[in-house]
Symmetry: C2
Subunit: 467 residues, 2 copies
Amino acid sequence: MDYDFLFGILDERSISTGDSARMEHATDWGTDDANASPPDVVVYPTTTDEISAILAGATEHNVPVTPYAAGTSLDGQPVPVHEGISMNLTRMNEILDVRPEDFQIDVQPGVMGPALEQAAGKHGLFFPPLPSSSDISTIGGMIANAASGMQTVKYGEVADWILELEVVLADGSVITAGSKAPKTSAGYNLRDLFVGSEGTLGVVTRATLKLAGRPAQIRGGRAIFETLDDATDAVTDVVRSGVDIAKIELIDAESAMMSNAVTGNALPDAPMVFLEFHADHGIDEEIAFCRSLLEQHSPDRFEIADSEEMDELWQTRRELQFAIEEYNPELQAVYPGDVTVPISECSPLIRYIKSLGAEHDLLTPCFGHVGDGNIHSTVLADADDERALDRARAVSEAIVERTLEVGGTSTGEHGIGLDKRNYLVAEYGEETVEAMYAVKRALDPTGTLNPGKIFPEQFDTAPADRH
Amino acid sequence: MDYDFLFGILDERSISTGDSARMEHATDWGTDDANASPPDVVVYPTTTDEISAILAGATEHNVPVTPYAAGTSLDGQPVPVHEGISMNLTRMNEILDVRPEDFQIDVQPGVMGPALEQAAGKHGLFFPPLPSSSDISTIGGMIANAASGMQTVKYGEVADWILELEVVLADGSVITAGSKAPKTSAGYNLRDLFVGSEGTLGVVTRATLKLAGRPAQIRGGRAIFETLDDATDAVTDVVRSGVDIAKIELIDAESAMMSNAVTGNALPDAPMVFLEFHADHGIDEEIAFCRSLLEQHSPDRFEIADSEEMDELWQTRRELQFAIEEYNPELQAVYPGDVTVPISECSPLIRYIKSLGAEHDLLTPCFGHVGDGNIHSTVLADADDERALDRARAVSEAIVERTLEVGGTSTGEHGIGLDKRNYLVAEYGEETVEAMYAVKRALDPTGTLNPGKIFPEQFDTAPADRH
């Protein structure tokens, strides 16, 4: 494989073939070491021109390029399964411009949540749809995976806050998708085609994001319920009733127990809901409205917490998945992932997950953005018991299958990567996936960009000599 | 041209080659009779299967198909400039399902605004982003043109309220774009690629739309200003300050004068802003907040109107473009269209439009959704004065060019059609339009669907023998 062309584009410090750099780019958070797949070379470009030249050169030399940012994805998105070049974008981490009078900010793809919040915060603004991982993940990764977060129930997804993208295509051409105008009907919407394309169609080199004014009033609280049905029904009832809720997160008793065991927290051993309200005025009236709805579901209690207590609760919530994974080293986790269903299907789906857990004697902690229909569940089985692991895998598959049966999606905010590829045809049908593949071949005919992702194996996405 | 294949698909009453049907499908609202371009045949399918068979047959026989709905588009979108088949979709006008517990409704593309409102209203729900023309336009047309409306300032565009589309491609394949889940990260976002594609990529045969709960409180009002600058600055100030405003429409003194002359209204001869507030509670507090901001721009008055008065004002606003066109039969209208800019550019752009009008002695009425940066302007010149008409065309071009210079778009909600094609490269750059064209060729390689639209003439979009 000829990588010499890279030395005509980048200085030597921006190219690495060392084992440590290659292994750092061989996995993401969701890929264990047994499935590590290192690239041949890692590059660290800092400009759009460099990225354009690298992609044009890679296409010419038939070399795959897999974009890599913070590596916090969960389904193998940045794992270079066909080797080639790993393109690390974290050095593209500049805030390029802030235009507070237009509620706009221009950023490079390697900017992380805290830098974005700081730049916006100086002007009394914020970026509402940040995912829970935003402290350590990049805006480019959020765009690539069509991410969302706890505040999506009020503010929408990352996709809803992107105005314009600069994108480099596989042939090195640099395009502008979207507009800095608040809305446009001019030509095809390529912007939302790149959002969620997981680096398989182009590399985002600049994003113009919308910002929002910080709410004058922020209050948080939590409600504890007797049964999981009560808690889930309370969430869907609040969302349906039009309460202006900024966050509403379900945590089941199993998740709470595991969090307590790992972190020393003292969450009640019961299903609970964490809430947050944002308003410019009238927040007490909104909270009272919400309380009246929650009370129809027999909560043990509903309490408004002070901001320090709430910070701790939200920290607990953000670390919940880690707690579940660390709870018992003898248990192995199998992931149905972040299935998402129409909200009327939330309660039935959670009941189904719990019934499968009981039937197969497996732990099935559930939590998540139930206000968006988005349930994060994990199936845990004894790592040394192959039959239990088989049951866990079957349960995980059954959860995704039921999700698709009721009109849901296999992934609400994490993306397909490697792990969800085999559900794509079941979710959309063969002809739809064929249409997606036609778009892939149109924009990346040589298969340069991130081969092996999104599409099931029968769709060939690798360069000619990499099949 | 062989259209016999149609008789194997549709009954005779669903196929027309009569002059009257052909001429009805030769123009849209924005195309005058001099530019009429009739199809060879008009078809009226009623099922997805029929549409699939027609498109597959047309592709096989090398015949263009141009989708047609209510014909209320303004830039020639449904005008069959390469003849062939006009596919009238107004008989696909069924409400298929309403799922109030999920805030979802499934509709066929020919459903019009009033039927949609009625079906949703039965459940206390509504479809917020309807455009001003919704009484006589179809949801399919709104999707095709990425429409928006007066309530977009609060609720977003039509695109933001679409969950899932069934689409028939040129080869007859039927795909599902998007999901009934509230959000998805699964595979490419084809849904938003079809929104705004003006019937050039596929024919939408079913749409799952999101609905919202009707607000408990609705109040309207208007503010009258001394100067146009005051009025425009007041709008941008209100939007920036985060007032929860559901509509905020600017009307300049020229537009008001023309409306009065045509309709017998008695609007003040001054720049004004019409407003509407939606809330579940606390509307008086919101109105007071808005008033405090408006008062910083020296309004002559700000008055809250009762609902009957407001109905009349909104009716006046909806009919404003007609009034401008009918004001003086000796004047001819030239349209810069619905240019849209970042909100900080609204006041400067409107000042620029007015200065051009003064300089060239032309009427330039302006109004629109200034809260979205969206300005509807018209340039009027003596129809018999060729030099005045030339000046009007130059002014219109200068308005669009200035819009693009300041980061705006040539069309915020009407689409490109025929009229805006020559701005597309200026707006996005050649490489971006090449990428759009690659997508067009990937999904419609034979150029069956609506040839001649969106792309400038150097991009060939017609079937092989129609160049």
